[in-house]
Amino acid sequence: MGRLSLGALLAVAALTLLTACGGGGGGESGAVAPPPPTGPTAAQLESAAELLDVTTFGADYTLVDAVAREGNRAWLERQFTLPPSDHLPIVLRYLNQYGYDINADPSPGLFRRFAWWEQTLTAEDQLRQRVAYALTQIFVVSDNVDVIFINPLALSSYYDMLLGNAFGNFRDLLRAVTLHPVMGVYLSHVNNAKANPATNTFPDENYAREVMQLFSIGLFELNADGTQKRDVDGNPIPTYDNGDIQEFAEIFTGLSYGPRPAGGASFFGNSDPVMHVPMRMFDAFHQGGQKLLLNGGVVPAGQSGLQDIDAAIDNLFNHPNVGPFIGRLLIQRLVTSNPSTAYVARVSAAFAGTGTGAPRGDMKAVLRAVLLDPEAASGIHLREPFLRFVAMNRILHATSDDDTYPAVGYIAQFLVQQHVLSAPSVFNFYSPAFSPAGELGRAGLVSPEFQISTDSTVVGLADLVAFAIYGDQSIDTPTGFTKIRLDLTDLEALAGNADALIDRIDLLFTAGTMDAATRATIRGAITPIANDAPARTRLALYLALIAPAYAVTG
């Protein structure tokens, strides 16, 4: 009996493994059929798995095999052509079915989580979904703000905006982020009025600061390779000062919620949030007059509010920092924590359009540079705990009886302190510059993901893996909704041969890079379990998925 049931969430910590009992099929006698002569080679499979590891939320054997046959580059280019699998339609499906009563249990606010899990587990446009996920950790908003949480349309609309712009141009992406009402709420530039001398009030500076610091250019002037420029005294050169922030704050005045698609009032100061249509400019509340932008840019007096915003977006978009700043963040989110300066420079060049034939800011050109760089193959970063959980569910065929995925993910969030679009602040779950104490810090290496690897969460991650593998559901769903379970039959069919089982786990999770010692340890642990394919499979998975070999990419 390799299964355990969970009484309650908190029972996770009390799980015990019963691995030595008999029962079930399998056994050492099961021989593995040789691969068909026309199939891809092991090297082709591993190369495909390696690409899929960073371009999807996890690939099962069918997908790895298909990409190995199609070729990495061809698959990637085809991904660029797939239309987005939007999340909002799924939210609307649930709202149709269950109504929109914010006092209902479960809260309709959770429908956006249902939609995220459904598309993430099933959508074919995996690269687009995965890039949108990376963008949520740059353009951070979060459901830890009530008005964002309770509105089921808010974060799905925001995610769809990221999906729609993921393969477009960075300028359009930055503009869409700026005008999205969820960002307006999160960084308080919705209902941000022009200065009022009579009451001595001034425009809110929150968005003006963060759009520069976090979403476009960063704090210091950069060279194209990501290194800091220095002044004559050897000091880093700030990209802006507080005066610049005040000028940009004037630009971002006059925005309020747009009209509901069904009609209704739209006015400045509206406190009834419309979270799924772009914010609307109310010029009467926009700060008039000339504004000074960065690098000598000037917004003339007399323009409309949206003309001002477009001018400011252009000013930031054309700042030489954007390529290295955003490029390095994307490299870190997708490939490696400590890219070389040459790698950053190649991505910066792609952003600038140098040699790509694409215009400045073309996201496809940037993503090709990030994903196909010669350094990408040896990229090393600590896997995000939440992405490990997602990959486990995708690779191990998380399914439900009715093909819906009403997943909440609170157990993961409780145990590993991470869930998509639920960061504790605009500074994301971790800093891109976090350098952990110990060997990595002494070597001058950064590892952002280590910032949320505490005593509690590293143990919690192991418990989360055990919960999914040994429990009767792999992602928590609300009471009354269908359960989501892993389907391990593919692996159990291989379990009679320990090496075949480990080979397959290695291919799917570690792209064939699992070291010999880890393989030997897992083999040694499952070999004594005779004639119990489910128990063998589960123990092998549990060990492989909490092993240091899998915790780190590359």
């Binding site: 691995t19 509690s456 192991a462 055990a466 549990y542 240091p548 070999a549 780190v552």
Partner: protein
């Protein structure tokens, strides 16, 4: 550091620089003390949801009770049901507590508990004119749960930041004090912003099961798994990321085992705790405190949350059910601290998202701002009501709508009082409470509020 945000950079620099900047004075106060003669703990009880505290501490003298009854209308508690406190204010005013808070009255009358009246999140001292004319800096997301519950923990209401008061305190303390094998910030309610610092994060303990362990590790019949995981964590990996991760997980398992062994050897207390979640959480905290020497702990902060206080409906029957649970848990915990001989070293306090509207919505009360909190322990100058209890008349000078009161005591001043007692130097207060100078001058010779006499 290239991409460090300015705020985080400054905070990080501050945290890292603390060892050099403050080592001497902090060392002088904490490190040189022996294991038992210098121990202090702060216990934060979060009443999540925004407790209607104007029905917890109620005016009792006839004139002021009449005002209370008038403004609260159908939410007013009958005067005959209230439990009067052995305290008379400077103007002759008297107070009572909710009938469900009998044990709190006892603690108060014994001098082990005090109230802080009309306290709340403030970005700067704020009056009604400034509020109405929109000239005051206000807390972000005022009246909303998520922001207010967070700001009570960060004490930085004008920014959405990810570090909290106890986290920043722990960054300072652990930069100079001898190492403790387990984080000095221990949560019974999972990770929380209150205990998150730049360097220090909380160690999560379960109210029921205690230490979180790797499922199956070391359990009966799990030798294959346990031995294999030990081998995986002992292997010598080629890259420093895997070596670091292996060390991290190994360390977490070992410190969990250390913690569990210490707790398993904890003395059985004579104090009996109720079976409610809050009492169980406080009982775990008492167990940890009882093994502080085994854990080499000089300082602890604890965090435990009890939800369900968002009483838009049924505030009267629900408070009647829930407040006795809080009162019993407080009394049990205080008794256990006396039993352990650390009553003077452990200070417990409540926080909550906000107070609620004085006026009724016909069923309950809605989100407000200022409210009342309790602070308990042998070091508390108890049997007192600190701060300024508002005059409960409609549209008073603090009322910004429906009896939402602008706080007259800031969360910053409250935490400053606790931090100074805990051993934070006045010169370090700016690091713990970045906005403190808007409310209190750390160089001042008077205490911020005075409840830790």
């Amino acid at each position: 550091m290239t991409h460090y945000s300015r705020r985080r950079f400054l905070q990080h620099s501050a945290a890292v620089g603390i060892a050099a900047a403050t080592q001497m004075n902090t060392l002088g106060r904490i490190a040189h003390a022996g294991p038992t003669d210098d121990y202090k703990a702060l216990v934060c009880i979060l009443l999540a949801g925004g407790a209607d505290s104007f029905n917890m501490l109620v005016p009792y003298d006839t004139a002021r009770y009449a005002e209370y009854a008038g403004v609260r209308s159908d939410l007013a508690l009958p005067r005959a049901d209230l439990l009067p406190l052995a305290y008379t204010g400077p103007s002759g005013e008297s107070f009572a507590v909710h009938p469900g808070l009998g044990a709190v009255r006892t603690l108060f009358d014994q001098g082990n508990l005090a109230f802080i009246a009309n306290i709340g999140t403030l970005a700067e001292p704020t009056d009604k004119t400034a509020f109405v004319e929109n000239t005051a800096r206000l807390p972000l997301g005022l009246f909303s749960h998520s922001d207010q519950i967070s700001q009570w923990q960060t004490s930085v209401p004008d920014r959405r930041i990810a570090t909290g008061v106890a986290g920043r305190i722990a960054d300072i303390v652990t930069a100079s004090a001898p190492a403790q094998p387990i984080s000095m910030n221990i949560s019974l309610s999972g990770t929380n912003v209150f205990q998150t610092g730049q360097v220090v994060t909380d160690y999560s303990l379960d109210a029921n099961d205690g230490v979180r362990l790797v499922a199956g590790y070391g359990g009966p019949g799990s030798g294959l798994f346990t031995n294999a995981l030990d081998a995986l964590l002992a292997a010598n990996y080629a890259d420093p990321f895997r070596r670091s991760y292996a060390a991290k997980l190994r360390g977490a398992i070992d410190s969990g085992a250390t913690f569990k062994a210490a707790l398993d050897a904890a003395p059985v207390l004579n104090t009996s705790f109720s079976s409610t979640p809050l009492s169980r959480g406080l009982a775990q905290i008492a167990r940890v405190i009882s093994v502080r020497d085994t854990l080499s702990a000089h300082r602890h902060t604890f965090f435990v949350s009890l939800g369900g206080w968002d009483h838009h409906d049924n505030v009267l029957p629900l408070q009647a059910q829930m407040l006795p649970v809080v009162a019993a848990a407080l009394a049990e915990f205080q008794q256990s601290m006396v039993e352990l001989g650390v009553s003077d070293a452990v200070t417990t306090f409540t926080i909550s998202d906000f107070g609620r509207t004085l006026t009724s919505n016909g069923k309950g009360s809605d989100h407000g701002w200022g409210g009342h909190q309790m602070v308990m322990g042998g070091a508390v100058a108890g049997r007192d009501v600190y701060g300024a209890y508002p005059v409960l008349i409609p549209d008073n000078a603090l009322d910004v709508g429906r009896g939402r009161y602008i706080p007259t005591t800031s969360v910053d001043a409250f935490y400053a009082e606790l931090a100074l007692w805990f051993g934070i130097a006045p010169s370090e207060l700016d690091l713990v409470l970045p906005n403190i100078r808007r409310f209190y001058a750390p160089e001042s010779l008077t205490s911020p509020i005075g409840f830790m006499a």
